[in-house]
């Protein structure tokens, strides 16, 4: 059943990551001190945990529609350091999941960037069976790859063969072509577990006014 704005608390409390991630935050700020995202974004996991712990429905809705939940880089450094075993990174995943299920993510600039993630990672998985694939990585989109990447791309077949890979080959090996039957199983899992619907929803919500 699609979550509604009125029962956000109920939905969150059933999420395993929410259960595992919130154990009575004492607001000490250790998570913020260690957080790489807090260093560079207007992001404060201590404050986020405070808001979530209050379980005020209006404040939670505001959070789900905001940029705030999209800044975490998911390094999970917070899990190691919290003295009370809270995990802001897990709470973020639960909030992002809910924000996408309801469609609130499309109301924030950072949330709408999920469209880019879907069109790159989601479509790589469907097409190739890999999250990342050499043929799709171009220097104009990734200038940080440097001139060595352009050289590698220009000569991929020869270099990869020299390095023992099985680029686009059948059977096992590095960068092998994943067979149609294996891709079909993977895509069947994506369909069964709702991932394809999720991909479609990202497209749909981002194109609604």
């Amino acid at each position: 059943m699609k979550p509604e704005s009125k029962n956000i608390k109920e939905v969150l409390e059933k999420d395993i990551l929410f259960i595992e991630g919130l154990n009575g935050c004492i607001n000490c700020g250790t998570c913020t001190a260690i957080c790489p995202a807090a260093k560079f974004f207007d992001y404060d996991p201590r404050q986020l945990m405070d808001t979530v712990q209050s379980m005020n429905n209006d404040e939670l809705i505001e959070l789900l529609k905001s940029d705030i939940i999209w800044y975490c880089g998911q390094c999970l450094s917070c899990k190691t350091r919290c003295p009370r075993n809270n995990v802001p990174g897990f709470i973020i995943t639960a909030l992002r999941r809910l924000s996408q299920d309801i469609g609130y993510f499309a109301q924030s600039a950072e949330g709408r960037k999920q469209l880019t993630v879907k069109r790159i990672v989601g479509e790589n998985i469907i097409k190739y069976g890999y999250c990342v694939y050499i043929d799709e990585i171009e220097l104009n989109g990734h200038p940080e790859q440097g001139p060595v990447w352009q050289w590698y791309k220009n000569n991929a077949a020869s270099i990869l063969k020299k390095l023992g890979a099985n680029y686009k080959g059948s059977g096992e090996g590095t960068l092998r072509e994943i067979s149609e039957s294996d891709l079909a199983e993977l895509n069947s899992i994506l369909k069964e577990t709702g991932a394809l619907e999720k991909f479609d929803n990202i497209e749909r919500y981002c194109h609604e006014d």
């Binding site: 395993i16 995202a37 260093k39 560079f40 880089g73 998911q74 390094c75 450094s77 899990k79 995943t93 992002r96 999941r97 996408q100 960037k113 880019t116 993630v117 990672v121 989601g122 998985i125 069976g129 890999y130 999250c131 990342v132 694939y133 990585i137 989109g141 990734h142 200038p143 940080e144 440097g146 001139p147 060595v148 050289w151 590698y152 220009n154 000569n155 020869s158 270099i159 063969k161 020299k162 390095l163 023992g164 890979a165 059948s170 059977g171 096992e172 090996g173 590095t174 092998r176 067979s179 294996d182 199983e185 069947s188 899992i189 994506l190 069964e192 577990t193 709702g194 991932a195 999720k198």
Partner: protein
Amino acid sequence: MKIDGKQNIWKEYQKEIPDDNYYYARSCIRQNFFPASEETFLKIIKEVLGKNIYDDAHQTTCTGIAYHSDLVSFDTTMTVVARQFSLMNNVQLKNFVISCVTSFGIYSEAMETWKNFPETLEKTKEHLKNATGRDFTSPEIIAHTSDIIYKYREQIKEKAKFHLVNKNTGKPLRVVEHIGCHYAKIFPSKGIGGAEFPSVLSGMIESWGGEIIDYPERRHCCGFGFRHYIIKENRGYSLSNTKVKFDSMEPYKPDFVITNCPGCTFFMDRWQYVIAEMDNKTYGENGFGIPVLTYEEVAGLVLGFTPYTLGLQLHQVSIEPLMDKIGIPYDINEKYLGFENEEIGRPEKPKVLQVI
């Protein structure tokens, strides 16, 4: 620095690492960016250590990057994980060895979730059956590939052709170890030495003659950030975090960096190029960068493998100054030859970062 106390803490964290008969789970990132390391691992396991490892044509991505970018739910990821385990069941193996740190976190999280929330295991079984007709049993042990190299570090040392020692001074090379966050930060007991004092890479370096540098931002993330790297306008997050690390390690003058995470190796190599071109700032000697190597590349160099079969030519930061320090011979002309020794041109030289 007094390290006796720290070493005692490390002793509390020990994990079981299987001896032999491995099922190999590959990494999406590494296959693309450091393909030779995937092959070097297999070569070390099979040819140097004489162990049995199965490389499966049927495996796919674990969807880890999609999960941590919030693109797929954990139900999807757990079901893909279950399919990989089913493939392992087909070949009667029980030791699942994972070459990606993100994947290692994913497989660990799936197994912990199934243990603590048994209803999720039942749901995963149902999803897998409905989608593929498969059943599955979890492995007896999961380990990261760096765990295996750590376990056999002394055997590698016995067969070493080179040691991590400066041939001119006779002193140990000074090494920064960078552990991928998802190796032990999510589940400290799954990593050798836990999350704060992991010894998986420092153990290798010390066995092979090097010396580990402790520096303030040693445990800081490389800055991958999953969605932040994928989204071009957010990529500054990744760059900025790598810069935090290099600014912090620079005063300690590392000879090289070793990592156990495919993404970290890549980011710490490439962002040095970007920092050089943008800020005119280089971290190595004479305008070069600090080489960033996978543990298989380091093991391969120590074992005397031909350098350019290790894929060192795919790094943007040149490795040759490090090989010169150790005294490893190489033929620079071979660096830019293709499979049949044909000429394939050379990469353009960066404007600031010195390369060979």
